[in-house]
């Protein structure tokens, strides 16, 4: 297997982009990443695109072909394009597929993109599309919603470990603070713990401000074999590990409701592959679709013990300047969560940080960064580790 580097990145603005279509945003991200990498269309050997539910959100499938076409890679160049789907982990999985094809030697320059256009449908329809990531027949038909599933994780976490609603809220407050420093973030306003606790209850104990929003957005990055990365950029960022794990589709079948075993296993595989441990990681983008998900993530990825995620967050250890800065982009909560794009956006944030180009939210001297992307309530987890040095 060959070492792989990232040589170009681009995020679109995240938010409610009423005037822009799915193809508009994904082409902006794709072309932006290609320009950042300084490669031409003729150099591109393949395209992977993470997209969860084009069919439900914009009535469009065959997203790979659509995106290749509107990126100018089809009619003359016939670049192979593959859509990857794993619910909210679609982006992370698209990145992993792109890495594997470059590492194997089958392709050289490959684009990994992710996109979701979610605001063309109403909130109820969007929620219903997202609920399809759970077990439709045995969770959905009982009346489960996505916030409802994570609320049940939160309820047990609180019962067993004494985690509080205030501690959950602290994750959202911190992510909004980071989002203020990220020009592409959907929400660039600070919020308080009281505002979170006083926002409407969606599924007890989760309030609306414990939940990530509905977002339009696209992200892309360009991969190359490490040995030629310097021909394109002075600051290639290297992939140290790509890892993935599965767990039961339904939350009720898990070994432990408060642990995402898929996250634990993906992280374990990633640490082994990179020959690193949690203490080596300088910053991480975790999958905070709900505040409780961030609390579980910092535990499952090994940054703190199981059950200590709430207090760890409350004590500021996950803020910029803390022990392990978490979600400097603003996370899914404040930067936004266009589901198919999220896994790629996380990688774009880490690359930006490791290049030292993150401006006011820069983690000084960051050497190693990690991304953690989850599908459903934890049936898929994808973890990547990135490094400034090869």
């Amino acid at each position: 297997m060959r070492d792989v580097a990232i040589i170009g990145v681009k995020n679109t603005k995240f938010g409610e982009l009423w005037e822009r279509s799915l193809r508009d945003i994904v082409v902006e991200a794709g072309i932006g990443a290609i320009e950042d990498a300084g490669v031409g269309g003729k150099d591109i050997d393949g395209l992977y695109v993470g997209n969860m539910s084009g069919g439900r959100f914009v009535d469009q499938e065959h997203i790979g072909a659509l995106i290749a076409d509107y990126s100018g890679l089809s009619r003359n160049l016939h670049v192979p394009a593959t859509r990857v789907e794993a619910a909210c982990a679609s982006g992370g999985l698209a990145l992993r597929q792109a890495i594997l094809t470059v590492a194997s030697g089958y392709s050289d320059i490959v684009v990994a993109a992710g996109a979701e256009k979610m605001t063309d449908v109403g909130a109820q329809e969007a929620s219903s599309a997202l609920a399809a990531a759970a077990d439709r027949e045995w969770e959905g038909m009982a009346g489960a919603t996505f916030p409802g599933l994570y609320a049940m994780i939160a309820k047990l976490h609180m019962h067993r470990y004494g985690t509080t609603s205030e501690q959950l809220a602290e994750a959202a407050v911190k992510n909004h603070r980071n989002g203020c420093l990220n020009p592409i973030a959907q929400y660039r306003n600070e919020i308080t713990v009281d505002q979170v606790l006083n926002s409407i209850m969606v599924a007890d104990p989760l309030h609306i401000f414990d939940c990530s929003p509905i977002t339009d957005g696209a992200s892309a990055l360009v991969l190359a074999p490490a040995e030629i990365a310097h021909e394109y950029t002075d600051t290639p960022i290297y992939i140290k590990a790509t890892a993935q794990a599965s767990d039961t589709i339904a939350l009720h079948d898990r070994r432990d409701i408060t642990t995402l075993d898929a996250s634990v296993m993906a992280a374990k595989r990633a640490y082994e592959m990179a020959k690193l441990g949690p203490g080596d990681i300088d910053l991480v983008e975790v999958h905070d679709c709900f505040t409780i998900a961030e609390i579980c993530a910092v535990e499952d990825l090994g940054f703190t013990e199981k059950g200590k995620g709430g207090i760890f967050t409350e004590e500021g250890e996950t803020a910029i300047g803390g022990l392990i800065p978490v979600n400097t982009s603003g996370g899914l909560k404040a930067c936004g969560h266009p589901v198919g794009a999220t896994g790629i956006k996380q990688a774009v944030e880490i690359v930006t940080q490791l290049r030292g180009e993150a401006g006011k939210r820069q983690v000084e001297g960051a050497e190693y960064g990690m991304t953690h992307n989850v599908g459903g309530s934890g049936a898929t987890a994808v973890v990547h580790i990135f490094s400034r040095e090869r």
């Binding site: 219903s128 609920a131 027949e137 969770e139 009346g143 409802g148 309820k155 969606v202 007890d204 104990p205």
Partner: protein, 131 residues
């Protein structure tokens, strides 16, 4: 949810019918035809659960799932059946105050309504044993 999709598993939904692997002894609900422990070496047979169990965790859903709007707010729980497997179901009954560890038993109830097609479907919910 289409009519055939619901009818296909009607017996399981109405009667809490799952499966049991004779080889390793594990019980499955919802039913599985491949044992997660023994895989192809497993020996699966049908099993009707007693319908008693305990709340592992729960939530009160205020923003309802599609088709459940009229029931909101409703209590949704993960219930561990006495035979071992866990399932997701609503806990109902006048003034339910669910708690972790609460003993519950299954009852036959209306589950939800299927949008424009107006289909009403029934299945298993749970009530407190002492309620």
């Amino acid at each position: 949810m289409s009519v055939p999709r619901f009818w296909r598993k009607l017996d399981s939904r109405y009667n809490l019918k799952g499966t049991h692997c004779v080889e390793c002894g594990e019980y499955f609900y919802p039913p599985r035809n491949t044992c997660v422990n023994c895989r192809r070496q497993g020996q699966i047979e049908a099993y009707r659960f007693k319908g008693t169990g305990e709340i592992v965790t729960y939530t009160v859903i205020h923003t309802a799932a599609e088709g459940f709007e009229k029931q909101a707010p409703y209590t949704l729980a993960i219930i561990k059946l006495d035979e071992g497997p866990s399932l997701t179901a609503q806990v109902v009954g006048s003034s339910v105050n669910a708690y972790i560890g609460m003993r519950v038993r299954s009852v036959f109830r209306k589950l939800g309504e299927g949008g424009e097609r107006g289909m009403i479907y029934y299945g298993t919910k749970f009530i407190p044993v002492d309620g």
